[in-house]
């Protein structure tokens, strides 16, 4: 196979951190090349350099044998590089064809474009109706829009940033068939992920980054997942310990909870029923955008529930606000760290006051006791190994993993009866993720009931006693997690959203 892209000694430094340090790698024509690494390992910076968003400080790139130094994404696209970002840039209120036209330099007539979209989407087994509104599409379908937008440019190199984080197992299968078809036509794919099993399934070569350096290239089909993980992390991984839990009292029960979504493109919760016992971890899986945020809000008290649908220790708590729920011991940690679980421009002390006033008595007669608040913030920092200069640091100055440890620790130290967490380890490095999972299991061992909402199935299988999945605002009946197969989980998550793949 010929060499498509050759990176030689790429270095990029930002104030205080070297994002890429002398990284060299080769991508051949027609291969699926995995780029592996933890958050902050420098994967994003590297692909941004290839896509013309960032200029390297030193080092050179060659594309199809010619020197390649794109000054902007347009130049990279003209050379044949296309990229599907993790976060979609689509307008909810426009339809598929309009969104694709917006990203083109010279869009053809809408009718021609719509026809082209249909052709390409059918050719690659990603059926898509060009006239549907983005707001009505599932996350998997939105990703198709982004992929087809790229395919219309006939790229030689397609970069995909964590594409499967929003997909069900069945949708992952469809996507992989598409990528395999592209590979057979000679298109190279640079596939960014930290999900090792998928990389072993799909990729021909894997390059592993750690702390900005290329620490090795391997054939993922031969290497074990554990060996690659340890190359990624640079240390031996700690697997959370858990004890089997005995059947105890019901701590929280939802009875056919139904709440309309507060926003136009949100997901309404429909007829959700489950209970969770003291000392138990209930894992709730599902593809992003199927009601996770709404369910977290309903449990935290940001959304009120109709009477009789949410029972805590035998009492109806559906009408209580967030602080009244904290009072009785129902605590939550939402998914979005910056702006929801914590105020980005406020100090860690102020962020301790955000949820800690009630249970930690941080206010008397309405006046904040800043001394006590500082002590509580320090307690969280010490107890959960949060790396930060001190309690005066603003939340957005912390790395994702450290802030997440702070947010989870802040709730755990308030000794919850029921703890709800949404995406507890999203975007968190492996060591911090292990620490957070262990802390949740320890909390359960002390008798708290825990509800973990996550899109990371490996995580849910690791820590849950029972598992249920959200699909379009409905929850499948919870079943014991031990012994569930990937196929069963996929069916609980709603299959492939009723969209049949067109691969033959």
């Amino acid at each position: 196979m010929s060499v498509l892209l050759n990176l030689k000694g790429l270095t990029k430094a930002y104030p205080g951190v070297v994002a890429n340090d002398d990284v060299s790698m080769v991508i051949k024509s027609g291969e699926v090349h995995a780029l592996l690494g933890e958050n902050g390992a420098g994967k994003s910076t590297l692909v941004k350099m290839i896509y013309g968003l960032v200029k390297p400080d030193s080092g050179t790139m060659e594309f199809s044998g010619a020197a390649f130094a794109p000054a902007e994404p347009r130049a990279a696209r003209a050379a044949g590089v296309a990229m599907v970002f993790q976060h979609f840039s689509l307008f909810d209120a426009l339809d598929v064809a309009e969104n694709i036209a917006l990203g083109m330099e010279n869009p053809p007539k809408m009718r021609d474009l719509a026809q082209k979209i249909t052709e390409v989407s059918n050719a690659y087994g990603l059926p898509l109706d060009p006239s549907r509104l983005i707001g009505d599409l599932s996350a998997g379908e939105r990703q198709r829009v982004e992929i087809i937008r790229c395919l219309l440019q006939n790229p030689k190199l397609l970069i995909m940033d964590e594409p499967t984080s929003v997909l069900t197992p069945q949708e992952v299968d469809i996507l992989f068939k598409t990528l395999e078809k592209l590979r057979s036509e000679g298109t190279s794919i640079l596939y960014i992920s930290h999900k090792l099993e998928e990389i072993r399934r799909l990729c021909d070569t894997a390059t592993i980054l750690r702390l900005g350096k290329n620490v090795g290239t391997c054939n993922p089909r031969i290497e074990t997942a554990r060996a690659m993980a340890e190359m990624m992390v640079g240390e031996v991984l700690h697997v959370p310990e858990r004890k089997p839990h005995a059947q105890t009292d019901v701590a929280l029960e939802l009875r056919s909870l139904s709440i309309p979504s507060p926003s136009a493109f949100g997901t309404s919760l429909k007829d959700i029923s489950f209970n969770v016992h003291r000392g138990e971890v209930l894992g709730i899986g599902g593809v992003a955008g199927n009601g996770q945020d709404e369910l977290t809000g309903a449990l935290s008290g940001e959304l009120k529930s109709p009477a009789g649908q949410m029972m805590f220790a035998g009492k109806d708590v559906g009408n209580l606000g967030p602080n009244a729920r904290r009072q009785i011991g129902l605590l939550a940690a939402p998914e979005e760290r910056l702006g929801h679980a914590a105020a980005p421009d406020m100090s860690l002390t102020e962020n301790a006051v955000l949820t800690g006033t009630v249970r930690k008595s941080l206010a008397q007669n309405g006046f904040v006791n800043w001394g006590a608040a500082r002590d509580f913030a320090q307690e969280v920092i010490d107890g959960f190994d949060v790396r930060t200069p001190g309690t005066h640091t603003v939340a957005r100055a912390l790395s994702g993993g450290n802030l997440q440890k702070y947010v989870i620790g802040r709730e755990i130290l308030q000794k919850p009866e029921v703890m709800v967490v949404n995406q507890p380890t999203w975007g968190v490095d492996a060591a911090a993720a292990a620490a957070i999972r262990q802390a949740l299991l320890d909390l359960a061992a002390e008798g708290a009931a825990i509800i973990v909402i996550s899109q990371d199935l490996d995580e849910l299988m690791e820590i849950s006693d029972r598992f249920a999945a959200l699909n379009e605002g409905r929850l499948s009946p919870p079943v014991p997690a031990a012994g569930l197969t990937v196929d069963q989980i996929g069916l609980m998550m709603g299959g492939a959203h009723d969209l049949e793949p067109m691969h033959e």
Binding site: Y14, P15, K48, L53, V54, K55, S300, G301, E302, G321, P322, N323, R326, A332, P334, E336, G339, H340, A341, A342, A343, P344, D345, M346, E350, V353, L354, T355, T357, V358, A363, G366, F367, V368, W370, T393, V394, R396, A397
Partner: protein
């Protein structure tokens, strides 16, 4: 290329230095404008900033300083609470007018009863009038999600018509030989907001402004409500998660700013202005928006900004009369102050880097 780079934390130094930098930039740009108008820039700036405090007629101007700064500070303190929470009351001018009308109406109703209770009742009525006028955009926002910026602003014009109708009708001086305008409170001592210390301009409205500064400082630094106000402005979702009730916060912020604007109106009508007249309001409610931002929405900053803007008012008038500068030039000068403040404000959260352009 010059590039802006986001600071990891807002700079403490720059958040204090930017207002000073803005004042200096305003002096330079204003000086250029005055020069273009054919006036000596140095003398113009001196007339505006120096003479009212240290010049020949300073004994007169110094008193004016507090008289003008008092209502500006009082209104701006109220507005700053809402602005911090992302609640935009642009209609303080209307609340100021209604507060003045309500307070004056109570005073005039008791005329000529000479009792110490009259003035406190007027104060209550003034605050209540402003409060209720601000509740109109507040309740509309909470119940129907209307935009409080538009509603509060448009209510200013309604208030102006009510003012005109009062000056010509219900509150017209019965002994005024048919001239528009109410009785003058100077001739009704029980209701007159007199200077507390003669010649200083210190009247009860200025006292109220100082109390408001202290109140707002304590509220923001120590009280849970102040914390919730800051939280709602910076991170609305986090605020809801933290248990802040958005509707209650909207009503609280609009209510406080309305009540303080109403108080400012009452102290003005019963003191420096003396009577309800058709053109009683002179734009304090709008200028207070500048004061609030110039003071960085911080109580102490607002105190200083109120004094500074009062100075440009007084100095501006002096420059109009002594140098013949057009009134529009003075207004442009005051506008520049806000413009430069907002422009250099960027430095608090960003640092300037000279070099290659980067997109991180």
């Amino acid at each position: 290329m010059i590039a802006l780079e986001k600071r990891p934390e807002p700079s403490k130094l720059w958040s204090w230095a930017t207002p000073i930098l803005a004042v200096i930039a305003t002096m330079i740009a204003g000086g250029l404008m005055f020069a273009a108008l054919g006036k000596d820039p140095v003398e113009s700036i001196r007339t505006i900033f120096w003479d009212p405090i240290f010049g020949e007629f300073a004994f007169y101007y110094r008193g004016q300083l507090l008289i003008k700064a008092g209502p500006l500070i009082l209104i701006a303190i109220g507005l700053s609470l809402g602005f911090r929470a992302g609640i935009w009351n642009i209609g303080a001018e209307g609340q100021y007018i209604i507060g003045a009308i309500c307070g004056a109406a109570v005073g005039l109703a008791f005329y000529p009863w000479d009792s110490f209770i009259v003035f406190p009742l007027m104060i209550l009525a003034g605050a209540l009038g402003g409060f209720l006028w601000a509740m109109i955009p507040g309740i509309l926002r909470v119940k129907f999600n209307t935009n409080e910026i538009l509603v509060s602003l448009l209510l200013v014009y309604v208030a102006e018509f009510i003012l005109a109708s009062m000056a010509l009708g219900a509150l017209k001086n019965p002994d005024g030989a048919g001239f528009p305008g109410s009785r003058n409170f100077r001739s009704y001592p029980a209701a007159y907001n007199e200077e507390i210390i003669t010649g200083t301009g210190m009247h009860w409205g200025v006292v109220a402004a100082f109390i408001a500064v202290i109140f707002a400082y304590v509220l923001l630094a120590r009280h849970l409500m102040g914390f919730q106000i800051k939280l709602a402005g910076q991170a609305p979702r986090a605020a809801r998660f933290g248990g802040v009730n958005p509707s209650r916060l909207i009503l609280f912020c609009l209510g406080i700013s309305g009540a303080l604007a109403g108080l400012a109106g009452l102290f003005e009508v019963s003191g420096p202005a003396g009577q309800i007249s058709i053109d009683f309001n002179v734009g304090y409610g709008f200028t207070a928006i500048i004061v609030a931002f110039l003071g960085r929405l911080h109580p102490i900053g607002i105190l200083l900004a109120g004094l500074l803007l009062a100075l440009t008012y007084i100095g501006g008038e002096a420059a109009q009369s002594s140098l013949g500068l057009p009134a529009a030039a003075i207004q442009a000068f005051q506008g520049m102050l806000l413009f430069f403040l907002l422009a250099v404000d960027v430095l608090t959260n960003f640092r300037i880097r000279f070099g290659k352009r980067e997109v991180a």
